[in-house]
């Protein structure tokens, strides 16, 4: 599965490990939320990077304080029309300050990439050869943003306030 | 959002909406689509209808029509008359009266 990360297709350094499967201790591994909950004590002692795959029913308000332990948090879109992971992503980034890789998995389609990016995702499992190209197109498709998220984009409101301040200064 | 109509031993035709125009269309003898139900190919029973549906679904995959499905028709009249009220409305247009409704029934599109 090609991994689109920060606009480029890269090799996925994270190996996905099934529950009950062998967990390599010398390379980055991605485990399930259930496994983390069950083996937390052992896993906390792990040296190699650990990533986690959260179901879209996971309560981020409960999980959030632990988010920093993980090099990657993968969230799920079982169907692209199931939008719970957008809220999960925003909470992880904006409420808990998560700075690691936030990955969109599941039914990840080109027409939702911009929304996902605005919500805080920076990595996407998207099975297409032209992933980088469609990502660039998606990000360029809208240049005005009405509402603030944690993505740092300037909102229309702030542009208007700046304009107002400039006008007032000019008077 | 088509509900699957009740299929019984009535003769069947295939109907769908044309993807690009939205027109109500019927599958014809030569596997094309017509707005005129009189040109629809009629399957004598449900089994033959299923075969027609497969042809129609292949056409849907080719992005010509959306959501084809079978409807029972009365072939004792010509053109065939859909048994279900909703399909008669689809075939003939809105039943409403008034200036805007008359405009609605005007035939504007060319045949597909």
């Amino acid at each position: 599965m090609p991994l689109l990360k920060q606009g480029h297709v890269v090799e996925d350094i994270w190996v996905k490990v099934e529950d009950g499967g062998y967990l390599p201790d010398d390379r980055p591994a991605l485990i399930s939320h259930a496994r983390w909950e069950a083996e937390r004590d052992t896993l906390q002692k792990r040296n190699a990077p650990l990533g986690i795959l959260l179901p879209n029913t996971a309560d981020i308000l409960v999980f959030g304080p632990e988010a920093g332990r993980f090099g990657v948090i993968a969230l799920q879109f079982p169907k692209f029309s199931d939008g719970r992971a957008y809220s999960q992503a925003r909470l992880l980034r904006e409420r808990f300050g998560y700075r690691g890789e936030l990955r969109a998995t599941g039914n990840v389609l080109r027409d939702q990439l911009l929304h996902m990016h605005r919500a805080g995702f920076d990595a996407f499992e998207i099975p297409r050869d032209d992933a980088a190209e469609v990502f660039a197109k998606a990000l360029a498709s809208l240049s005005v943003f009405y509402q603030p998220t944690g993505d740092g984009r300037v909102t229309a409101r702030d542009l208007r306030l700046r304009h107002l301040l400039r006008e007032e200064a000019a008077e | 959002m088509a509900k699957a109509p009740r299929l019984d031993n009535h003769p069947q035709v295939i109907t769908a909406n044309h993807l690009a125009t939205g027109d109500v269309v019927y599958l014809t003898r030569v596997a094309s689509w017509s707005r005129d139900i009189g040109e629809a190919t009629v399957a004598p029973n449900v089994q033959a209808g299923a075969a027609l549906l497969a042809v129609a679904q292949a056409q849907a995959k080719m992005n010509i029509v959306i959501d084809p499905y079978l409807i029972p028709v009365d072939t004792s009249v010509s053109p065939p008359r859909p048994i279900q009220f909703r399909e008669r409305i689809r075939a003939q247009g809105p039943t409403t009266a008034g200036r805007t409704s008359d405009a609605a029934r005007e035939d504007r599109h060319v045949s597909v």
Binding site: Y86, L142, P148 | V24
Partner: protein, 552 residues
């Protein structure tokens, strides 16, 4: 009214380009119907019985004459010369071709209009009082807040794939003409004890399969916290709303299942966390938006009734009939609010031809500062008309069959498009509405009956708002035949209530007769000035039930 700046304009143009690309990719087959459908819906394009239907957003029901002309031109260029005004203050074109939809949207963008988010599981058009900015009983103009909500909710990245659609309504008057208690979120502007204006926040109202009156989640929300609070509610809904069953996916079900206390707890916790974020509204931002809704340059006229108006009222019987029903009191001395009835006998309720739209735009320019409103009862409004001009306005409207004197009367029926147009319907609504209206064509009788809101829905989705009709009619399918179930006593105003089921469904002919019988029963039982609704509330269901079913 709100004018786009270059930022607003760019957003609709970019959206047109984006959708144009999506249409191309659908027609080429790169996008499947499953992948394309939500994108198409979020641009307001439905596939109905006969064709694609485009639902154009009319934000909070406010239109300029230029925009109304734009709609008329689109009706002619891309459709069959007319449009249908809906119960959510929007406009529907019923015959749009997918391949032309991007062009139609481009034409809309040229007059600062769009069809963004008029469908799909996202936040829809925020609706309000059709008399906003004009009503004498208004506390503040709710449209300022509707515009703020519109911007916040447009392309919201977190809330574009909700469990289900989401509808918000705002009222700025204690007389709720926006039906806030039957919306997912209702906002009622009012003053607290300190005299500050803020919002009562109501959640979980809605019609459809399982109707509910909304519950108050917060009594008073300060203005600057509006968006933070809305975001908190939407986030809780997005995370916890049901997604297993589309008929149980609205927020009203969530509120019902977890209870208002639990809902409040979750929302208030989220609100506390984000209250002071970038969502907090600065005074300057509020002022910038509010400036667009400053009153028009009214003339300074004496209070009381203008002599030209009084004279015409006295001498012209037909004018008097119309003025009595189709005008309302304005806050500005010497002015009035005019409702344009789109319920002419013989025409489908809520429809207007391109010609009529052009005429209304001209009349608005001449007599109403170029402004028009859409009501959620499928009529239009000229909000600011000088009383002295009323006779001329009436004559101008009459010339285009827009002066039926029946606003709020029995023939002012609200009807969804029904089985004549809609793929979801069980039964037709429009022919039934037309038959019922014909029974009330005698103006003396109609005026004697007085206010009677009849609302017809062709299916349980209740787009005709039948649950809140004084008489509600619901189309059902009984063994392939059209039947109608009646409800009584519904109301969408501050005394919001859901109608009571009268009895078993009736066929079309019996339904029309039943309406007559119900009205006769009311006329026999009423006391003093009681409207139908008042009499019903006093005597209850029984007398009406007997009148219809006992005789059978």
């Amino acid at each position: 009214m709100y004018q786009y700046d270059q930022l607003d304009q760019r957003i609709v143009e970019e959206r047109v380009a984006q959708f144009s690309d999506q249409v191309k990719r659908r027609l080429s087959g790169e996008l499947s119907e499953d992948e394309f459908k939500p994108l198409r819906l979020q641009n307001g394009l439905y596939l109905q019985l006969h064709a694609y239907m485009l639902r154009v957003a009319i934000p909070y029901g406010t239109l300029s004459s230029k925009q109304l002309r734009g709609l008329a031109q689109i009706a002619c260029k891309y459709d069959r010369g007319w449009g249908h005004f809906t119960t959510r203050q929007n406009l529907q074109f019923n015959w749009i071709r997918l391949e032309q939809a991007p062009d139609a949207l481009a034409d809309l963008a040229r007059v600062q209009m769009h069809a963004i988010q008029t469908s799909g599981n996202c936040i829809r058009n925020t609706t309000t009082d059709q008399f906003a900015g004009a009503a004498h009983d208004e506390i503040e103009d709710p449209r300022v807040w509707c515009e703020i909500i519109r911007q916040w909710s447009t392309f919201h990245p977190e809330f574009s794939f909700l469990p289900r659609k989401f509808k918000i309504a705002v009222t700025g008057s204690p007389n709720d003409r926006a039906a806030v208690r039957v919306h997912d979120i209702g906002l009622r502007m009012h003053r607290n004890d300190a005299g500050e204006v803020g919002f009562e926040v109501i959640v979980g109202g809605g019609l459809g399969r399982t109707p509910f009156i909304g519950k108050t989640i917060r009594d008073f929300l300060p203005k600057q916290d509006l968006l933070s609070y809305l975001e908190a509610i939407l986030r809780v809904y997005n995370l916890f709303g049901r997604r297993d069953n589309m008929f149980k996916a609205r927020i009203k079900i969530l509120v019902h299942e977890i209870g208002i206390e639990a809902m409040r707890e979750k929302v208030e916790a989220e609100f506390a966390a984000i209250r002071d974020s970038a969502l907090r509204l600065p005074e300057e931002t509020i002022a910038q938006i509010a400036a667009h809704f400053a009153p028009p340059p009214f003339e300074a006229l004496p209070a009381g009734i203008a002599p030209e108006y009084a004279q015409a009222f006295r001498t012209d019987f037909d004018f008097g009939l119309w003025a009595r029903r189709n005008t309302a009191r304005h806050k500005q001395p010497g002015y009035a609010i005019v409702t344009i009835s789109l319920k002419k006998e013989g025409e489908p309720p809520g429809d207007a031809s391109a010609e009529q739209m052009q005429a209304i735009a001209d009349i608005a320019d001449r007599y109403s500062f170029g402004e028009i409103r859409v009501t959620h009862e499928q009529n239009l409004v000229l909000p600011h008309v000088k009383q002295a001009d009323l006779p001329e306005v009436w004559r101008a409207l009459k010339a285009y069959e827009l002066a039926t004197p029946n606003v709020g009367l029995a023939s002012d029926i609200i009807a969804c498009p029904g089985l004549d147009y809609c793929a979801l319907a069980n039964a037709r609504s429009i022919p039934l509405a037309q038959q019922i209206a014909r029974r009330f064509r005698n103006w003396e009788r109609a005026h004697d009956i007085g206010e009677l809101k009849i609302k017809i829905s062709g299916c349980i989705n209740a787009c005709g708002h039948h649950h809140v009709g004084h008489i509600g009619i619901l189309g059902v399918d009984k063994a392939g035949e059209e039947f109608y179930q009646l409800t009584l006593g519904g109301s969408a105003d501050d005394s919001a209530a859901l109608g009571d089921i009268l009895g078993p469904a009736l066929n079309q002919a019996r339904t029309v007769d039943a309406i007559d019988t119900l009205v006769e029963t009311y006329l026999q039982l009423r006391r003093g000035n009681e409207r139908f609704l008042d009499t019903y509330r006093r005597v209850g269901l029984q007398p009406f039930k007997e009148a219809i079913y006992a005789a059978a």
